[in-house]
């Protein structure tokens, strides 16, 4: 009798409650955000400025740009920056990420979005989406982690190319031969062809 009770209690205590549907949460979140962005992109009445502001308002809470900035420097370099450098770097990096994101939106015409199931990878959740364009299919993998009550994106892989990974090795390269000031200068400099023409 007692044994039975202990068995039951043991099971109750040590069996975690059924997985709290974290992959489900991520799926709902990402679909909702992307659908809203697509609505804005398809709305031809908006001018570009309104559109971009709208997009940022939607996606900003989902992307952890600051974490991305830190991860891009990594444990190796981030702690070595002083306070001012950290602030300046964060500001520049976040700005750059936002600009880059908005610019990718300019390439959007009327592709269809296909969502895959979200998968739990350790404590993180990965979700694949596909952008079916006129002549190919682009795989975009969003990587989420749990931040307090929310799920936030800390990296995006486009066709297997991780944004954070490419920044990490580039920044490491810059800092190996140069200083933090060099890195900040490079970040300040807009791309060589900053006035990109996109007229698809």
């Amino acid at each position: 009798m007692k044994k039975l009770v202990y068995c039951i209690l043991f099971l109750i205590v040590f069996c975690p409650p059924a997985a709290a549907g974290k992959t489900g949460d991520v799926e709902i979140l990402l679909k909702e955000k992307i659908d809203k962005v697509l609505d804005l992109l398809r709305d031809k009445n908006l001018d570009k400025k309104q559109r971009n502001e709208g997009i940022l308002e939607i996606v900003d809470p989902m992307f952890d740009f600051k974490l991305m900035a830190k991860l891009s420097l990594g444990k190796k370099h981030w702690p070595g920056l002083n306070k001012d450098e950290k602030n300046e770097y964060l500001e520049l990096f976040v700005k750059r990420m936002k600009e880059s994101y908005l610019e990718k939106m300019d390439l959007y015409t009327d592709e269809d979005m296909v969502y895959d199931e979200a998968k739990a990878v350790g404590k993180k959740v990965h979700m694949k989406t596909y952008l079916a364009s006129r002549d190919n299919k682009l795989e975009m993998l969003y990587k989420f982690y749990r931040s307090g009550e929310r799920w936030k994106v800390y990296d995006v892989e486009i066709e297997g190319v991780s944004i954070i990974q490419t920044y990490r090795s580039q920044f490491d390269g810059v800092l190996r031969d140069g200083t933090v000031a060099d890195l900040i200068a490079k970040l300040k400099k807009p791309g060589e062809f900053s006035s990109v023409e996109v007229n698809n």
């Binding site: 009798m1 009770v5 202990y6 209690l9 043991f10 109750i12 205590v13 040590f14 975690p16 409650p17 600051k66 974490l67 830190k70 991860l71 990594g74 444990k75 981030w78 702690p79 306070k83 950290k86 602030n87 964060l90 600009e99 880059s100 610019e103 300019d106 390439l107 404590k123 006129r134 002549d135 299919k137 982690y145 749990r146 931040s147 307090g148 066709e159 297997g160 190319v161 991780s162 944004i163 954070i164 990974q165 490419t166 990490r168 090795s169 580039q170 920044f171 490491d172 390269g173 810059v174 190996r176 490079k186 970040l187 807009p190 791309g191 062809f193 990109v196 996109v198 007229n199 698809n200």
Partner: protein, 287 residues
């Protein structure tokens, strides 16, 4: 484990209430309610550390004070990305590669892009897409053989069906009914992927003139793939080159703006393109 305390608690309960099923039920309910918090705590313990560490990063950049928590916090992600200096690839040709990257960049902006834009202006998109599908269909032997070499029976089968359907119903591959009607999508595979599939490493990075980023394995693999490509049979060689250039030009006309946009993400163009290429190839080999 922290398992001793609920047992004692139960014993305590039972002594008070004496043994009876109803009381046991109450005890279970009580433990059930409290245990959810406990197991949630146990499970989330790691996450909690992350969150504590995260919260130690003040939300406003202006208030950054110290690095408390950096260690724990980064460890959760560092494993995923690895140490950049250990990841530093063996790159004996980096000097040449940088020069060739600049050359290819200029070649694109000064020659390919203007021509592609002119071509795009003249030929409507529908036509260019059809031409693109036509050339893609012609690459069937490359995809079919490489899928077969990797024993990807399903993919090879789909490729064969696609070729048969698209070459006939799709009129020489100008249309793609296999995809549009039957949802049969192409499975692009090349010889570099076949070698990678059997464990051949990528070797050092090589930037090829005009063709762009590649590596030792993939460059060598261009040779077998060349012989699988029907367009390679065209004689004389100059005509073959003309047809292949036209294919590339047509393709470029459909993708103007993509390289430019990609390039803006680069802090340093050569390592950026190199890493992007290698990561992308790694993924393709894995599939």
């Amino acid at each position: 484990m922290g398992g001793t305390w609920p047992f004692r608690q139960v014993a305590f309960f039972m002594r008070i209430f004496q043994k009876s099923w109803l009381h046991i039920l109450f005890a279970i309910l009580f433990i059930l309610l409290s245990s959810q918090n406990i197991s949630a705590f146990v499970r989330e313990n790691g996450t909690l550390i992350v969150e504590v560490a995260l919260n130690s990063f003040p939300s406003e950049a202006v208030h950054i004070q110290d690095n408390v928590g950096d260690e724990d916090f980064f460890d959760n992600f560092e494993d995923e990305f690895g140490d950049p200096s250990e990841n530093e690839p063996f790159d004996p040709l980096s000097g040449y590669n940088r020069v060739m990257t600049t050359f290819n960049d200029k070649f694109y902006f000064w020659l390919v892009k203007p021509v592609a834009k002119g071509y795009k202006f003249v030929v409507p998109e529908g036509g260019r897409l059809a031409v693109n599908r036509f050339f893609k269909n012609l690459l069937f032997p490359v995809r079919f053989i490489n899928n077969s070499l990797q024993l990807k029976a399903r993919a090879a089968g789909v490729e064969l069906s696609r070729f048969c359907i698209n070459s006939t119903v799709g009129i020489l591959g100008l249309w793609d009914p296999a995809k549009d009607w039957l949802e049969l999508e192409a499975y692009p595979e090349d010889f570099g992927q076949t070698l990678g599939h059997y464990g051949v490493g990528s070797g050092f990075h090589v930037v090829l003139p005009i063709l762009g980023p590649s590596n030792l394995r993939d460059s060598i693999s261009l040779i077998p793939d060349y012989f699988l490509e029907p367009v390679s049979l065209i004689e004389p060689d100059l005509d073959e080159l003309a047809v292949k250039s036209y294919d590339k030009l047509n393709y470029t006309s459909l993708h103007i703006g993509e390289y430019e946009s990609l390039k803006k993400d680069a802090v340093d163009l050569y390592p950026f393109l190199r890493d992007a290429y290698e990561q992308n190839r790694k993924k393709k080999v894995k599939e």
